[in-house]
């Protein structure tokens, strides 16, 4: 059985894209007239946040697969998708905070709906691991986590609508449906950065799944070869095992 098929190619493509994106960010994209150099964090921050949100919804979609088929591999995929999206989301919050401090003078700005919605989504998904952790039976843990992932995944767009309606627009609206007002060179750099970060997410997602599957297989083989008592039991974990 081979784990992580195509991972090597994917990893090289990811490295190449991110290198290209960074090169474009620092040497090609023009300096912003108002914000200067700090505006370049936008090319990291926005893709991180978008990827995290898509990762949460992706985790919910994978959880539907688990509930429909009952196959635990979908639970593993959903778990890793949400786990990775949480990491990207924390990075997005931190970079966003730095940008807010630099351009608005405060680490946190309540008047910006995108920031607030993102925080609410993060608060909700931060309960995913504690929920898994407090259910002992692995089969029930997988099922309940999938229910949570589906509900929370559907919550993401609804939450954005509600919070946006509650406040005015402060965030620079660079990504509107009408095309926004980014100059071409900035738009190109942003698109490459977004693809790079999305590729990074996919690569890490595949890596973690491959690692977890390989570890499970190794434990199975060890148990078969050395007997049940030869393995130390795993410490309790929120991850599927």
């Amino acid at each position: 059985m081979s784990y992580g098929r195509g991972l090597r190619v994917l990893s090289f493509v990811t490295i190449a894209t991110i290198t290209l994106a960074l090169a474009l960010v620092f040497f090609y994209a023009p300096l912003d007239v108002n914000q200067g150099f700090i505006q370049k964090i936008f090319y990291i921050h926005v893709p991180l946040a978008i990827t995290a949100l898509c990762g949460f919804v992706f985790g919910g979609l994978l959880a539907i697969g688990h509930l429909r088929t009952g196959d635990r591999k979908w639970d593993l995929r959903s778990y890793v998708a949400i786990h990775m999206a949480l990491i990207f989301g924390v990075a997005g919050l931190i970079t966003g905070s730095i940008w807010a401090k630099a351009s608005w003078g405060h680490w946190w700005v309540w008047s910006d709906p995108t920031l607030v919605s993102f925080l609410i989504v993060m608060l909700l998904f931060a309960t995913y691991q504690p929920l898994r952790f407090s259910i002992e039976d692995p089969e029930r843990q997988a099922r309940y986590a999938s229910v949570f992932a589906i509900v929370a995944g559907a919550f993401v767009p609804l939450n954005f609508i509600a919070v946006r309606m509650a406040q005015g627009f402060v965030h620079p609206r660079v990504l509107t449906l009408t095309g926004g007002h980014l100059p071409g060179s900035m738009g190109l750099t942003f698109a490459i950065s977004l693809i790079g970060i999305a590729l990074l997410y996919t690569t890490l997602w595949k890596y973690e799944i491959a690692a977890k599957q390989a570890r499970m297989q190794l434990r199975r083989l060890r148990r078969a070869a050395l007997g049940e008592d030869a393995l130390r039991p795993l410490g309790r974990s929120a991850a599927p095992s």
């Binding site: 309960t127 229910v147 589906i150 509650a166």
Partner: protein, 223 residues
């Protein structure tokens, strides 16, 4: 529909005989109003502040009530009995959400006049129809999410902690809409009609999460 009514009747009868949940929710709400009086150092409030106090109090009272929702089922084997019965499993969701909605309605019959008496500046009378419209939609959200989260949390080890930490962020869009709509209703010099925009958001939230809960509830009962 009959299993729903049967479970609902069972829950209401249980509550009428033991008086475990509702009096606790009412007492909790009134104590919270007193706490807000001292914490805010105000004897009368109106507008957004009044809406915030009312929303937060009702939310926490609802969380208190939803924590008790499945306790009897868990402790006395009601889940197993229900799974053995040849009925649709989602009828348990409908029955529990209906019970929760009724509890919240009764709670508000007492708590809202108490709020008007203790804290509210503007008179309640002309604002009552608007407030009822807002609270009815908010109760629906609280009942649906409360039931869903309570059903998720009941089988976990740390259930008293799991249900609020999941429930609060999940309810946030509904709370935003409730607080904003109620603020307009409770403003000092207003006609007392709630803004349609926020009622629409609340109704949308109710519909989406009711359907979603209906779709996933089966999987919380499987064994």
């Amino acid at each position: 529909m009959r299993p729903v009514l049967a479970v609902l009747r069972k829950d209401l009868r249980l509550e009428l005989r033991t008086f475990e949940t509702l009096p606790a929710m009412v007492l909790f709400s009134v104590s919270t109003f007193v706490i807000f009086h001292f914490a805010l150092a105000r004897s009368t409030i109106s507008g957004q502040l009044a809406a915030g106090v009312l929303t937060v109090t009702l939310l926490f009272a609802a969380l208190l009530g939803s924590g008790r929702l499945f306790v009897a089922e868990r402790e006395q084997g009601g889940f197993d009995a229900f799974l053995l019965a040849p009925v649709d499993r989602t009828s348990l969701l409908l029955a529990k959400a209906a019970a929760m909605f009724l509890f919240l309605a009764v709670l508000e019959v007492v708590a809202v006049p108490a709020f008007a008496l203790l804290l509210l500046g503007p008179s309640l009378g002309p604002r009552l129809p608007g407030l009822i419209a807002v609270l009815a939609l908010a109760d629906l959200a609280l009942a649906v999410i409360g039931t869903l989260v309570s059903a998720i949390a009941i089988h976990t080890r740390a259930r008293d902690m799991i249900s609020p930490i999941i429930g609060l962020p999940l309810l946030l869009p509904a709370l935003i809409a409730t607080a904003r709509a109620a603020a307009v209703v409770l403003a000092p010099h207003a006609a007392g009609t709630p803004p349609g925009r926020w009622l629409l958001i609340l109704a949308l939230y109710d519909v989406v999460f009711a359907l979603l809960s209906y779709a996933v509830f089966d999987f919380l009962l499987e064994d």
